[in-house]
Structures are given as C-alpha cells and as structure tokens.
Amino acid sequence: MGNRRILMTAVLLLGTGLPLPAFGTGDHGDPMKGAPGGKVTVIEYSDFQCPACAAMAPVLDRLAQNHPRDVRLIYKNFPLTQIHRWADTAARAGECAYDQDRFWEFHDLLFGSQAEWAGDPAARTRFQDFAGRLKMDRTAFDRCIDSESTRLAVESDSGEGRLLNIHGTPTFFINGKRFVGIWKIEELEKAVRDALSGDAK
C-alpha cells in the first residue's frame, strides 16, 4: 500500500492528468474532497496538532468550494512528533475515521477544537469521544488506532513527505507547485488560476 501511495503522489505531483484511482471511496488511498476529476489537485501534508494547519484548513476548504468543478483536495499525514505530543495519535485517529468514511467531519472537529485537546493529557479519550459524536463504531475505532496497518498508513504518508523534502506543516502542492505555511485565499486563488491557465495552454 505504501508503494502505491508513493506512486500515486508522484503521478499527481507531475500533473500529468492521467486517470487516477478513486480517492476517498475505499479502505486505501488518501482522503479526498472536491472535484474527483478536477484539473487542479491540491495535496496537503498536515499535522492535526499544528496551529498553522488549523488556520489553513478552512482556507483550503474554501478554495475547493470556490472551484467545485476544478479543484480536488487530498489530505496526507505529516505529524511533527518531535514537537507535538498528540500528532501521531491524531493522525492515526484520522486514518481510522477515514476507514469509517467520516474523515472530513473528524478532520474539522480535530482542527476546530485543537486548542482544547492539544494540551490535554487525555487527548486520546477526546478523539474517542469525537468518534462517538460522529456515530462511528467506537470499538473498531479504538482497535484501529493501535493497529499496525494504521501506523504503517501514517508512516507511509510521512515517508512520502520526507522524500519530497518536507520539513514543516502545512506543506501543500497545487498541481505540483509547493506552498508552505499560512497563505491567504486570494494568493491561492491566483495559484489555481495559474494552474488552470497552464492546463489550458
């Protein structure tokens, strides 16, 4: 699965426009939202405990909403475990929410309440509560967080990120063009316009 993810990322970053596997519809691949066949692909490497990622989450969401036929957003984990105590657990929890088709709701809950759980010694319990609130199967969710396959899924994303020389979050690619940190929607709109006009040429 790891090799498949790397291959898919490479294809997306090259912006070849080749037909892609169906993201967000099964137990593999990465969470995706927006236009499935969109001409502009935004791949975000993010950490649920990173404040800048929380700031960028609604911006990227709005970007996808503003271009419902052109932009698709793909989420990948890049937990900064050296500085964020709960980053890895949160990333695993996100994978488990994805397994139960609740990723984006869980994503919004985690980022929306980041300030509350980031310093909480019992953050994992909060993640379990979020799962319950989203009507996920809590037993499966708990088992999933500790599973080896979930650890590998997160590690696979992080490994890709390291191959792409990513050091900080959020790092996102708009049709291969790299952006790091916090950006305004107007700046990203320009990048999307550039990507679309580049595609038209």
Binding site: I83, H167, G168, T171, R178, G181, E187
Partner: protein, 152 residues
C-alpha cells in the same frame, strides 16, 4: 572592559562561535526547499508577500558567506560588521514578533534543525551580539593602526 575581551585568543574564540553559528544557520536553510524558508520569512509578517520568495533565495547565502569569511579570518572587519548588523536586525525582528504576539512555535533560525521559540532565540542572539563587540573592536583597532587600542 571591551579591551580585556578583545585579546587575540578570545577574539578567535568569539569569531569562530559567531561565524560558525552563521555558517550553520545558512547551511541549514540551504538544505530546505526555498518555499520552507519563504514560509519562515512570511511568518514574521514584515515583508510584502511578493518579496518573500526572493528573500528566501538570498537569506541563506547572506548568512553563510559572511559567517564563513569570519571563521576563516578573511576581510574580518567587513564580515563582523555585516554580522553585527544582522544580529541587530534579527534581535529587532524577534522583539517585534514577541511584542506583536505572533505565535511562532519555532523562530526558524536554524532551519528547523534545532527549534527555538522567539524568546529563546532572542536570548541566544544577545549572547552572540556581545561576542561580536570585542571582535569588531579588535579588527577596527587593527585597521586604525598599532597603539590605537586593543591588546592583541
């Protein structure tokens, strides 16, 4: 008191520490994609957006070159003058970040290799700045000629 600290062996020590830090700082930024350095510059919210990418391309070299020249003792007066100026600028930036309450997890001074909060980085910069003073004094007096000051 500065004359006491401007002894030759101390000057070499301070020169190596300050220059070495700038070499390390520049090198650690050079290994990053320019966009990462750009993000670091953007996080300080002082430059117009359009200038942040060119600044990201230049900044690592602006640190690396004077740092290397200082360590090697090549044009030491000019390199220590440049580095002292940069120290003042960086300290002012860090103070402004603290005063404006910008929540930086890492000052980015060492390209994320070692993470420092702005207050930690400011403390380190103050120490390095104090190291710069006797080095500048020493080489300034050497240019002005023997007997004009310094003890080397």
């Amino acid at each position: 008191m500065i004359r006491w600290f401007a002894r030759k062996w101390l000057v070499v020590l301070f020169r190596t520490a300050v220059g070495g830090f700038f070499v390390l700082s520049g090198f650690m930024k050079l290994r990053l994609p320019a966009e990462e350095v750009q993000a670091l510059i953007r996080s300080y919210e002082v430059l117009p957006s359009g200038l942040t990418y060119p600044a990201a391309l230049v900044l690592p070299w602006v640190e690396l070159v004077p740092g290397a020249l200082l360590v090697l003792g090549i044009v030491p007066l000019y390199s220590i003058a440049a580095i002292t100026g940069m120290m003042v600028f960086f300290m002012a930036l860090l103070i402004s970040v603290i005063v404006r309450g910008i929540p930086l997890e890492d000052c980015g001074c060492l390209g994320g290799w070692i993470r420092e909060t702005p207050p930690e980085a400011l403390g380190r910069d103050v120490v390095l700045f104090l190291f710069c003073l006797p080095v500048f004094y020493h080489y300034w007096n050497r240019i002005r000629g023997p007997g004009s000051g310094g003890s080397a």
